[in-house]
Amino acid sequence: MTDRDAARAAKSHVQELVGGDPRVNGVGLTHVGADWAVKVNVVDDTDCPSLPRDVDGVQVVVRAVGRISVRAS
């Protein structure tokens, strides 16, 4: 089972891989079942950085979310 500390360490490694890439708009922690995992939000999953399925034994989840904007009306 992957715990939160392992996922945090893997997240740092993922940030080194995608740092500064404008196609990425968030790297954080999430769950896959009972395991902690790294979540990478990308603008468009047809044009995103290539990432391994897992880093240091921690699963990496990539999801397309589009652009993020403030929620004023």
Partner: protein, 325 residues
């Protein structure tokens, strides 16, 4: 019993109800249905389900009880069901409906439309006090109460916001403090507070779940809810935490945030434009966890978009504020 027998008995019972109804003005329910009791070698076994209430139902119940004393008694299920009402939606929107939250409302309460005079509309998230300052403050985002750092201290704050018809006559407070947004990144909160003016500081502290009990650090997978100006009362769950490098588009450009919370709506979008500033809280403990400020175009349930929040602990710390519970 055989299906034909069930149909015949049902017709006999209902005939008695119709006869009684023609003699008086009865009320209540008299309903007979055919139920499947089980199955044997010859096929399904049928029975009668009798449901009744009121004077109209008593006629049916008397007939059914008489029938129950016969050989068919074991195949009858007779129940009194009380008043039957149509499950229509309420005609008046409730306190937490968007239509209500976009109106001028006094006393002020969480979820209402609010904004600095040059902003369209956002949401009043919570009420706070500030150490060393008197009075009650309304908590929302910088881009709602301080126009993304473009407003001046003491600028009027309106309820409802201008987009919802708010004018200078709807002034309830003035901008008191905002955490500056750094264009270079490294932001953790989009937050500001407005000092409520005399006469508006007698507020209602209730949320749909009741009054807050405090605040808590966010954790992944926990259930949360919020009440906001555009989508009203919505429910969701935290789907990611400690999100760094979240690039958010503002009217003034892109601003990057670290340490953010991501929320997925339970059945659809958790938020929409105008919900900025909503307080996100745990309904099970009534603890605040985040201040809603942004949303994505896609992702989440049914692709309706994800919602992003600042951890409330960081918000309160940056403003030197304490939640009013």
């Amino acid at each position: 019993m055989h299906i034909d027998n069930a149909r015949e008995l049902k017709a006999r019972l209902l005939a008695g109800v119709v006869e009684a109804a023609s003699l008086e003005a009865p009320n209540g329910t008299a309903s007979v249905g055919i139920s499947v009791l089980g199955r044997d070698a010859e096929g399904p076994r049928y029975g009668l389900a009798v449901r009744y209430s009121g004077s109209r139902g008593e006629v049916l119940a008397d007939s059914a009880r008489a029938l129950a004393d016969t050989a068919a008694g074991s195949e009858l299920d007779i129940r009194e069901i009380g008043l039957v009402k149509a499950l229509t939606a309420p005609t008046e929107p409730g306190t937490w409906a968007p239509e209500s939250l976009q109106r001028k409302v006094r006393p002020l309460h969480p979820g209402l439309s609010i904004a600095q005079q040059d902003v369209t509309a956002g949401t009043l998230g919570a009420f706070v006090t500030v150490e060393g300052s008197d009075g009650m403050f309304a908590l929302s985002n910088n881009h709602v109460l301080a126009n993304s750092d473009q407003a001046a201290l003491d600028d009027p704050v309106l309820q409802p916001g201008p987009h919802d018809g708010g004018t200078a006559a709807d002034r309830v407070g003035r901008l008191a403090r905002a955490v500056a947004l750094e264009a270079g990144g490294g932001n953790t909160v989009d937050a500001a507070i407005a000092l409520l003016e005399e006469g508006f500081d007698d507020v209602d502290l209730s949320y749909p779940a009741g009054r807050l009990t405090g605040w808590a650090e966010p954790d992944d997978e926990i259930a949360v809810e919020k009440v906001g100006r555009t989508t009203g009362w919505t429910k969701g769950r935290i789907s990611a935490i400690e999100l760094d490098d979240v690039a958010v588009q503002y009217p003034v450009g892109v601003v990057s945030f670290d340490g953010q919370i991501e929320v997925t709506g339970e059945t659809g979008a958790f938020s929409a434009g105008g919900d900025s500033g909503s307080l996100v809280y745990r309904p099970d403990t009534r603890e605040a966890v985040g201040l809603l400020f942004a949303g994505s175009e896609r992702g989440g349930e049914n692709g309706t978009g994800l919602t992003f929040c600042n951890p409330i602990g960081l918000v309160l710390s940056a403003l030197g504020a304490t939640l009013v519970l």
